[in-house]
Symmetry: C2
Subunit: 232 residues, 2 copies
């Protein structure tokens, strides 16, 4: 019997649910087509957790149920994700689960959690555009890309970029034909009604204070980490 | 005091979570920017419900808490959605909530639930490409489009199309500037790794038996409805 390869998507309170559910839908379609892959949503407990929207999410497994995933994928969020950067239970799981994982990945500001767990040192990485510079505080080299693959470390840009990253992982592990079928299953043929983003119009000045507030408030009580990330 | 305009996203067991969470993330960003809008996830109860992936979702409100939403949005799914087409509690809510709603919408096969509730008669509509022809059984005119707007009835194509539809609704109600900001918030700048879908490659022959199975199995015990939808 071949052991299945488990994708573990990490859930924690207050995250941005699309960061998790986008890749989850893609990887679940992979698992439905290719039984050698499995998907779990792992958290400290399996009860419902708040998100940054009105929906609550409940995990399928506790951290201790999935100690050695094939792939680890960490979604992001806003202030609650910054707070989670000092959650030692969560960080402990990220470190131990990453230990033997062939993929250590993130969506959006989930990369800050990888960074806080010491998993981005010396890696090229990306995150939500509003937090991109912060990655350098973890010894990472920030990249302006939809997703970045640096060996086993794969990081996606903000929120919806997790869908693209997950399709890339399906392509990488199961091949283009399976990835294309998954793309048909989720009918991923995007037509943003206002077209692609024009990055010259990005509201950087408006969002910088929100990022600074999240770092200051989320890391209150952790001045060393705050200084490392915000002091640059 | 102006009354807030409530977007009610409907949750039921077994649905495809990305159908719900995509629009939810977009509309929650709208509500964060424009306090005259609110978002609720409504269901028969607020306990966690299974989805077609390992995550479970829990609603923020029960049906009776949101009797008269401004906008109603119904996500889709696979076999459980076909089963839900004969869930009288769900259909009763869709009918009564739609009564005074300014938007009656769906994502993916959520349109079949609108159809089962009698809300698509005489309307142009769309759904997941595998179920498109079935819409005619409800008196609707199927359209091959990313989303279709026919008066207050707005229907999106499969799964990920709900993101595009929701951005369109933000544009329609709050204007292009807000919609563009929301698009930056969720960094919706899609780059499908294998490119856009080539519809000539759609695995129609492979998926037709799965659709037929879902209709036959999901409507067992409801031969009239089955005949109306599958008999064509």
């Amino acid at each position: 019997m071949t052991e299945t390869k488990m994708f573990a998507l990490v859930l924690y309170p207050g995250l941005t649910p699309l960061d998790l559910v986008g890749p989850l839908q893609v990887l679940s379609a992979l698992a439905a087509m290719k039984p050698e892959y499995e998907v779990a949503v792992v958290a400290e407990h399996t009860g419902p957790m708040q998100t940054d929207t009105p929906v609550r999410l409940a995990a399928s497994h506790r951290f201790e149920d999935v100690p050695e995933p094939f792939a680890l994928l960490v979604p992001g969020g806003q202030l609650p994700t910054i707070r989670a950067m000092t959650d030692e239970t969560l960080l402990g799981y990220l470190r131990s689960a990453a230990d033997g994982a062939q993929i250590v990945g993130s969506v959006c500001t989930g990369s800050l959690l990888l960074g806080a767990a010491g998993l981005l040192d010396g890696r090229k990485a990306t995150t939500h555009w509003t937090f991109l510079e912060v990655l350098a505080g973890f010894g990472a080299t920030p990249q302006t890309r939809r997703w970045v693959e640096d060996g086993r470390v794969v990081t996606a840009a903000g929120v919806s970029a997790g869908i693209d990253l997950a399709l890339h992982l399906v392509d990488r592990f199961a091949g283009a034909e399976v990835a294309r079928t998954v793309q048909f299953v989720i009918e991923y043929d995007p037509q943003p009604p206002l077209g692609a983003l024009n990055w010259d119009q990005a509201p950087r000045a408006e969002w910088a204070p929100l990022r600074d507030y999240a770092l200051r408030e989320g890391l209150a009580g952790h001045p060393d980490l705050y200084e490392r990330l915000a002091g640059r």
